[in-house]
Amino acid sequence: MLEIRDLHASVEGQAILNGVDLSVGPGEVHAVMGPNGSGKSTLSYVLSGREGYAVDRGEVLYDGRDLLELEPEERAAAGLFLAFQYPVEIPGVGTMTFLRTALNALRRGRGENELDAMQFLRVVRQKARALGIGDDMLKRALNVGFSGGEKKRNEMLQLAILEPRLAILDETDSGLDIDALKVVAEGVNALRSPDRAMLIITHYQRLLDHIVPDRVHVLAKGRILRSGGSELALELEEKGYGEIMGEAA
């Protein structure tokens, strides 16, 4: 489903990714772990098409298509979703309005009927309840004045509503207490399905106690230094990044 080959990327002339290779199949959950500054967030922004992230070499295929050619909204329409590490505040735009605008934009892109207000309300209420999100939060302006935990739950709500085929979760666990972490993990687990792939980017192993990945990759200095099964995450927790990076050097 997702094929990253020899990906080199830079920001303002500074090389950040130095040849990333990664292959994710349908239904698989992969974790990308790494220390600060290893290029984890850059990887998620390059995949989602953020401006200012230049691809210098390599290619990314998504369902056999050249992903890097597409505009960000086209990637979204093709089923790519990024849960942001720092969700953005948009004053004056209600959370419901935003969600409905996004869902209908995607539905239009896929040639499906748009949902009217009542149909949408039903969808949203049901999915919000599962994530412990009340009507009150849905009525507030998008992410404005939300706590860190509320912002992350809101990202998970969007994930649940937009039902992407490839979800990238960028440090979704940061800033969450253990209860919120469990809620988020349950939300993600509920979305696991044979045709949906996930890429979970995280610094810490603790999220992986709750979302057990099929594969774990260690990203450092802009490259994947090691890959393995879910047990690799535990090894990292025990030994720290230093040893792994030392081994590879």
Binding site: S48, G49, R50, E51, E71, P72, E73, R75, A76, A77, F81, L82, F84, P87, V88, I90, P91, G92, V93, G94, M96, T97, F98, R100, T101, A102, N104, A105, L106, G109, E114, A117, A141, Q158, L162
Partner: protein, 484 residues
């Protein structure tokens, strides 16, 4: 609101043209000769069969106007206007004034239909009465009979001059005297039509009143005059909308609006101004020089202005409140959007005279392309304004790097117990916000429209529901092509 916003965005998408009101109606019209002199003033007065006192008033205004020069203090580049090279009266030709809607020229009804303003009462927006002004005359007023049952007078001002001369004579020029300013004085001399509203004591007007202004004829100035009087403990909500065809030459629009609120009365006045703004190179468009002022004469009276200004090549307009009454309240909510080469210098004046009078100003300026957008506001506390309060908030949003936003607050206080607060912010549409929207599948233009609508929300919420939708659409359309 959320439902409206989403629908709006969909509607914006479905509208291909940037300015869809730019068509011309092919209708025979009757015009005064080109140019401006005393004979033209007499012609206009005669064609409307006006009483002597009104002709005299017009002539005094005209003579005074000849001694005046155009104001040049605004942050606007105004090309020379040749006041002799325009028509001051143009009316669609009809044998007699229409007695009912059945007699209105079908071509005119079709024009208003096309503008989304159906004039046949059975098709009307529920609960909205409309006066339609086409070039210099009012062509139709709906729901008159129903309003009369409540004692509310809603008619063209030319008709009010005939049927209610005592009211017109008492209040015309009482808030904006004919000596007020260059454009108001010009209007006093040559005003052709406009709306008149009178709400008697204790009456809450049962429906929204609305006037729809349309400039059609070429080289024609539009000079309408609106007068609204709310007697003790009455309430009225009034809305005006404006459009004009796309023409390469500029056209002048110089209106005057006067509002009078007596004890405990409330007037809510909303404007959705969408005159033709000119093309993306700054060719054509309406010059909009408007004087709007309300007098809160009575104790506890309230006047609230809400404006959404998206059109016109140049906008020069400062809807104001003269707060005479004790505990009177003035409000000004404004959205001004300028794109391409549009220029706007707009704001308000809140003049506090009554004790404990309060005013609130919320201004949202949005600038894109090479446009310039200035907020100019005066808050004046006179010696009688003990414990008066004002709160002003003006926010500017910039899209792109070639536009400008300016804020000119003037504060004068002659009473130590009065309080004035002013807050101002300037921001740009944030790349993070745009990327976030786009990552969720929302295209760039739709995202800008969404973010700008959010920025304007406090003001949009003040509009009557029926018009909030229209206004949100306009916000999106006005900014098309402003990113990327």
């Amino acid at each position: 609101m959320s439902r409206v916003a989403a629908e709006t965005v969909e509607q914006v998408r479905s509208l291909g043209d940037r300015y869809k009101y730019g068509f011309v109606t092919d209708i025979e019209s009757e015009q005064a000769p080109k140019g401006l002199n005393e004979d033209i003033v007499r012609f206009i007065s005669a064609i409307k069969d006006e009483p002597e006192w009104l002709l005299e008033w017009r002539l005094e205004a005209f003579r005074h106007w000849q001694t005046m020069t155009e104001p040049n203090w605004a942050k606007l580049g105004i090309p020379m206007i040749d006041y002799q090279d325009a028509y001051y009266y143009s009316a669609p030709k009809q044998k007699e004034g229409p007695k009912s809607l059945d007699e209105v020229d079908p071509e005119l009804l079709a024009t208003y239909d096309k503008l989304g303003i159906p004039l046949r009462e059975q098709e009307m927006l529920a609960g909205v009465a409309v006066d339609a002004v086409f070039d210099s005359v009012s062509v139709a007023t709906t729901f008159k009979a129903k309003l009369e049952e409540h004692g509310v007078i809603f008619c063209p001002i030319s008709e009010a001059v005939q049927n209610h001369p005592e009211l017109v004579r008492k209040y015309l020029g009482s808030v904006v005297p004919y000596t007020d300013n260059f454009f108001a004085t010009l209007n006093s001399a040559v005003f052709t039509d406009g709306s008149f509203v009178f709400v008697p004591k204790g009456v809450r007007c049962p429906m929204e009143l609305s006037t729809y202004f349309r400039i059609n004829a070429a080289n024609t100035g539009q000079f309408e005059r609106t007068l609204i009087i709310a007697e003790d403990s009455s309430y009225v909500s009034y809305l005006e909308g404006c459009t004009a065809p796309m023409r390469d030459e500029h056209q002048l629009h110089a209106a005057v609006v006067e509002l009078v609120a007596l004890d405990d009365a409330e007037i809510k006045y909303s404007t959705v101004q969408n005159w033709y703004p000119g093309d993306e190179n700054g060719v054509g468009g309406i010059f909009n020089f408007v004087t709007k002022r309300g007098a809160c004469i009575g104790a506890r009276s309230k006047i609230s202005w809400t404006q959404v200004e998206t059109g016109s090549a140049i906008t020069w307009k400062y809807p104001s409140c003269m707060l005479h009454g004790a505990d009177s309240v003035g409000e000004f909510y404004s959205i001004a959007i300028t794109n391409n080469y549009q220029q706007a210098d707009t704001g308000t004046k809140m003049v506090h005279m009554g004790p404990r009078s309060r005013s609130r100003v919320i201004s949202k300026g949005i600038s894109a392309g090479r446009a310039s957008n200035a907020y100019r506001g005066l808050v004046k506390m006179l010696p009688g304004a003990a414990s008066a309060r004002n709160y002003t908030q003006c926010d500017s949003l910039l899209i792109g790097s070639k536009c400008g936003a300016h804020t000119f607050p003037y504060i004068e206080s002659q009473n130590r117990s009065a309080r004035v607060e002013h807050e101002a912010t300037t921001s740009k549409i944030d790349d993070d916000q745009l990327f976030y929207c786009r990552q969720r599948g929302i295209g760039e233009e739709e995202a800008v429209s969404l973010i700008v609508n959010g920025f304007c929300r406090e003001v949009l919420q003040q509009l009557p529901m029926e018009f909030a939708v229209e206004a949100q659409k306009l916000v999106g359309i006005s900014l098309e092509g402003s990113v990327g």
